[in-house]
Subunit: 635 residues, 2 copies
């Protein structure tokens, strides 16, 4: 965390200096804005949080409900999401309050007494160690709170506009704010009032019944019928020994439970399978009471019993596998015509079962993907075409998710006797762990993802996948730390220069690269950074040397890695790294001893791997997706 | 963190349900209270934070300043303090914002060019791994903020009363509130008004010039003269390569600097030695400007230069090695007469140089020591005699500290040529690391510290020293975690039962012990817990088995380890532990395979080690320091 360089910060250093719209942000929803986000679910809140770091962009986020979410909805936080929270500064705080999944138990009919359930297996949750972050369970409401706190501390001082419902929108052909949106105040002094507000861009993050989606003429397609689960968040007494463990429980009679222990040491959630929502059963299923859910749970848990003492929340959660074909308002054929103005994200685009615990997680990655792109376009850093990559990247991810989820759900719904192998279920769980954990996403080449031509220089940073952190030593203060954790969700591109063999201060390919970076008119830093801004304002350039930190001085590093920042023109010392004694990042991530340049997007995805000598490749990559600062100043 | 068991908690779970005085705590300082704390420095704030967990006790903390501390004073946070913060729930948050010391550099005159300084050594900061917590640097104001946040979230909803100055006090012989205190409002609507308020107990945590100390007729004795340092917290440009490293710098000319990098990546503090404050030099020294400090620093740093760009704070910090003979208002000879009513803590009792970075740390341990004792006496858990142990325990610690600090200061003041061995300074630093880190404290036997008769059963938990945590597995959720980190600063005693060989559910010494604990009228749990309160309300009893967690069921543990809690009578599952695969706590802490009982005080000090079979020893230990619940109910 860097602070004090604009002057002494006496209170919470996470509160950044207000800037731009944050200096006099209108309290009430104004008539015009740059971006309007509809819905304060995970997809909308992360997009808003990301945009709050662009104070030159006026973003508002409206919500029909008059207040924050209080209870219920999703609770599974995949490690990929926790990585994301790290960039938003609340991974630690959230980890402290959340339940941590370390192992998962599978219970099945006992082979000798099939009417009894028995523990069949208990695999560890992340056997492949795909992330340094944990797999957590915590109520969705708390995630939203943390994003809300981030926004409020951001330079934009953003806050959700509660009690405002989206009705519909039309996109006009021209004008600065071409999207006209009809909204209604659902609470507060203007309750009942309908207004038309105007935005440059609209994001519909308004859930499975999205009206934004309807307004742009898209629909969710897929399963004919929904599948239903009785869900309850309860406090209970039980003799079931694994009540504090995530469990998949299948009974002799075919019933099944997904047990999710929750934060705080006492509460847990149970999903009891209620089957397909056929037209005949629909009315009956929707009426399922919490008593009936508890009764079914007791039947499945036999010989154990469960006595519910307090119900925090319960619901019949009904959902099908459905997907929309495009996540914006421009049809594929029409792509030549205009760039998108309206986007949808999260449950508005894709729905799936609660079994793989994906809804909230995938929705956040949607919002994270779009957030920085809107920020870059609206702040003049990038061409509008960048916005086309959102649907292109995320729609295919949603398709993969739905395929995976269908497979997993089918498997969990199977009767024990129908498995070809008794451990089929847990084997599938372990084998595919990386998927639900959120690490299989790999974006295709585009204007923001390069090719894998030079992948061999850094095998451990696959182009298109998220940057998997590794440990290094920060030279200036000798702190061992995770390289990836130094990247905040501040909308900046990151370039990691892994040095060739010579140490800092010696002639090397790295030294030449650094000079080009600092001085060439083609360097993205030189070309994109507006006059008067810090050298690292838009692109954050860091270096990792092959030596140990005691073998050279931080001040020997080229000046692009020691930029002058802030009003006092202080040196920023925290961009120079060395290898640890016991863990060499060059080994851990398969980086060539000739060095490599790894370009990482603001949303943590590896965009390109290049040789240190290929400066023109680097210039070309950024030429596709970033504008000259001069163009920006003219605008 | 445990919550939800009183019903669903939708917002920050660190906010505990209000209780006692927290239900209708008077906004303004009332005329009567149980405890009055004077001064919101580290000593006062930790005592207040601890007492805020006793909502049946009405505690107020007054401060002369009209607002929180904003800048300056101490900044070194020893690992022992971070351990303490862990119990108050803010170690992680603070670690995120603080500077971490991993190594320290020693700079000396270059052997070839003595007018130049050169790096002579760079030892690691905690070579002995005395704690799992880091050594941090962060401004004192932030520590106070975190304690303030803890208090406000506590059941008492406590907040400091700013703008009220202590004038003097008198202790009367009788009455419920025998201490009459004269105060003056220094700000707010009552500014200028003098009042007399009454308390049962007063804690003077009002710093080196303590008026509370003067009121009870005690004084600080020691050095004739003060030693002075020019201190500045600044933002600067420099070519000195170790500007982000803690450094002791000695120049040829005999000048010396202690360089302390600070939180946020840019700010640093420099202490420049100004020498003894003799009567002749006094006036001159006190006038030292920040420009002069910077000039001296430049001279010492030669050939490097330093250009100060912004001054956050500066001061001439003047202090001597001084100590008061007793930390309360009862003279040793008079001990038979009455128990103490007035206490002093922190700088009010002991002052020392800034060199070893001890002031804030030791002061907090004073306040932590007294806080729970006052809480126990005032809530009727313990006899008043308990309060005598405060001065007895802490005065000797202060004496040791002053002796250490004198040695360290003398060494740092020596000219390079006067050292017998060129590495004498850094050798001393490394050899004695455990002392400044805060881990040498070992309390003598008393009513709250037992003897070391059975130390052999748990060599790694020395009686009288702080409980050094070790890792285990929590059986119910298979989470690997630190046993010690499960203990919050909630004022409870902790008993760790380390099992003998048999696993849970089998006959064993542990099983017998657990039954005695749950049922015997002599058991501290049975004897001390008032009717209607949870079994673990006053004494938290946990068990660690020798087996792995997969070798038994959590529900096999005796019921004292699975107590019913809260209004819904839920089982508390988080008290049963097993050993990790890769780190057996029995090995790591030298615990006998016959088992052992380790009693830990509310302030984390090991009070007693006993065999599982010595239940009468356990009963006797608690009989000295805790009252029967029945006596309490009668009161
Ligand atoms: C009742 C419910 C129960 C759920 N239970 C589970 C579960 O048990 N397990 C699980 O994994 N997932 C569950 N989910 C799904 C999970 O919460 C979602 O996958 C996840 O929240 C998707 O995030 P999102 O941001 O896309 O949409 P949401 O979280 O649905 O957020 C959409 C937001 O938009 C607001 N909104 C909707 N329409 C308008 C409008 N016209 N104007 C203004 N605001 C509007 C809504 O009030 C809501 O706050 C549940 C969802 C719901 C709604
Ligand atoms: C100006 C200053 C500079 C310091 N600089 C350093 C440093 O550079 N390095 C270092 O290691 N240590 C420094 N210290 C010492 C370090 O801050 C203390 O060791 C530490 O704060 C001790 O904590 P304490 O709670 O005992 O007392 P303090 O932190 O001194 O707190 C005492 C509090 O009591 C209040 N108070 C005093 N009198 C009254 C009264 N009559 N009525 C009501 N309130 C009153 C004060 O305003 C203050 O808030 C400094 C202390 C001071 C005062």
């Amino acid at each position: 965390m860097q602070f004090h360089h604009h002057g002494y910060v006496s209170t919470d250093p996470r509160i950044r200096p207000a800037a731009g719209i944050g200096l006099d942000r209108p309290e009430d929803l104004p008539d015009e804005m740059d971006v309007l986000i509809v819905g304060t679910g995970p997809a909308g809140m992360i997009a808003a949080a990301q945009l709050s770091m662009f104070p030159e962009v006026h973003t508002r986020i409206i919500e029909r409900r008059p207040h924050r979410l209080q209870v219920g909805q999703a609770d599974g936080i995949q490690a990929r999401s926790v990585e994301t929270f790290q960039a938003f500064g609340f991974a630690e705080e959230l980890s402290c309050e959340a339940y941590h999944i370390t192992e998962m138990a599978f219970w099945k009919p006992d082979t000798e007494h099939p009417e009894h359930i028995a523990r069949a297996a208990q695999p560890v949750d992340d056997p492949q160690d795909v992330s340094e972050f944990p797999h957590l369970i915590v109520n969705q409401a708390r995630i939203l709170d943390h994003f809300g706190a981030f926004m409020e501390r951001s330079p934009s001082r953003m806050r959700p506009d509660y009690g405002i419902e989206f009705l519909d929108l039309t996109v006009e052909d021209s004008g600065e704010h071409p999207v006209a949106v009809r909204v209604r105040h659902t609470s507060g002094p203007r309750e009942g009032e309908e207004r038309v507000i105007r935005a440059k861009y609209v994001l519909g993050a308004d859930g499975a019944r999205s009206r934004v989606r309807a307004s742009i003429g898209r629909s969710l397609d897929g399963d004919q019928a929904n599948h239903a689960w009785g869900v309850m968040d309860v406090l209970a007494r039980t003799d079931f020994p694994d009540i504090r463990l995530k469990c998949a429980i299948q009974s002799h009679s075919g019933g099944s439970i997904l047990l999710i222990p929750r934060e705080g040491g006492h509460l847990f959630r149970m999903y009891v399978d209620l089957g397909e929502v056929t037209p005949e059963r629909k009315a009956r299923i929707r009426e399922t009471t919490v008593e009936e859910i508890a009764q079914k749970a007791n039947a499945i848990l036999h010989p154990y019993t469960l006595q519910v003492r307090n119900v925090a929340w319960h619901s019949v959660y009904e959902v099908g596998h459905r997907l929309t074909d495009k996540f914006d308002d421009v049809d594929d054929g029409a792509s030549g015509s205009h760039t998108p103005r309206v986007f949808i994200a999260g449950d508005a685009c894709h729905t799936h079962s609660a079994k793989a615990g994906q809804g909230m997680n995938v929705s956040m990655q949607d919002g994270f993907n779009l957030g920085w792109k809107l920020g870059h376009v609206l702040s003049g850093r990038s061409p509008e075409d960048l916005l086309r990559t959102y649907s292109a990247e995320r729609q295919v991810i949603a398709q993969n998710l739905i395929d995976f989820d269908r497979e997993w759900s089918t498997m969990m719904a199977k009767r024990p006797e129908d498995f070809s192998d008794p451990s089929e279920l847990e084997d599938f769980y372990v084998k595919t762990a990386e998927f639900p954990a959120g690490f299989m996403t790999q974006y295709e080449p585009s204007m923001v993802i390069g090719t894998d031509e030079h992948q061999g220089l850094a095998e451990g940073f696959p182009v298109g996948k998220r940057f998997k952190s590794s440990r290094v030593v920060r030279v200036c203060d000798t702190n061992p730390l995770h390289l990836g954790h130094q990247a905040e969700a501040d909308g900046r591109w990151r370039i990691y220069a892994f040095a060739d063999r010579p140490a800092a201060g010696q002639p090397s390919a790295l030294t030449d690269w650094a000079q080009w970076m600092a001085e060439s008119p083609d360097s993205p830093v030189v070309r994109c950074t507006p006059e008067g801004e810090d050298v690292d304002a838009l692109v954050d350039v860091k270096v990792v040397y092959q030596q140990r930190h005691t073998e050279f001085e931080v001040t020997d590093a080229p000046r692009i890695f020691l930029p002058e920042v802030g009003p006092f023109r202080l040196l920023q010392y925290e961009k120079v790294f060395a290898v640890l004694d016991d863990e060499d990042i060059f080994e851990a991530r398969g980086i060539s001893r000739e060095g490599a340049v790894v370009v990482v997007r603001p949303d943590q995805y590896v965009a390109q791997v290049l040789p240190l000598t290929d400066t023109s490749g680097l210039a070309e990559f950024f030429a596709q997706n970033t504008l000259d600062a001069r163009m920006r100043e003219r605008a």
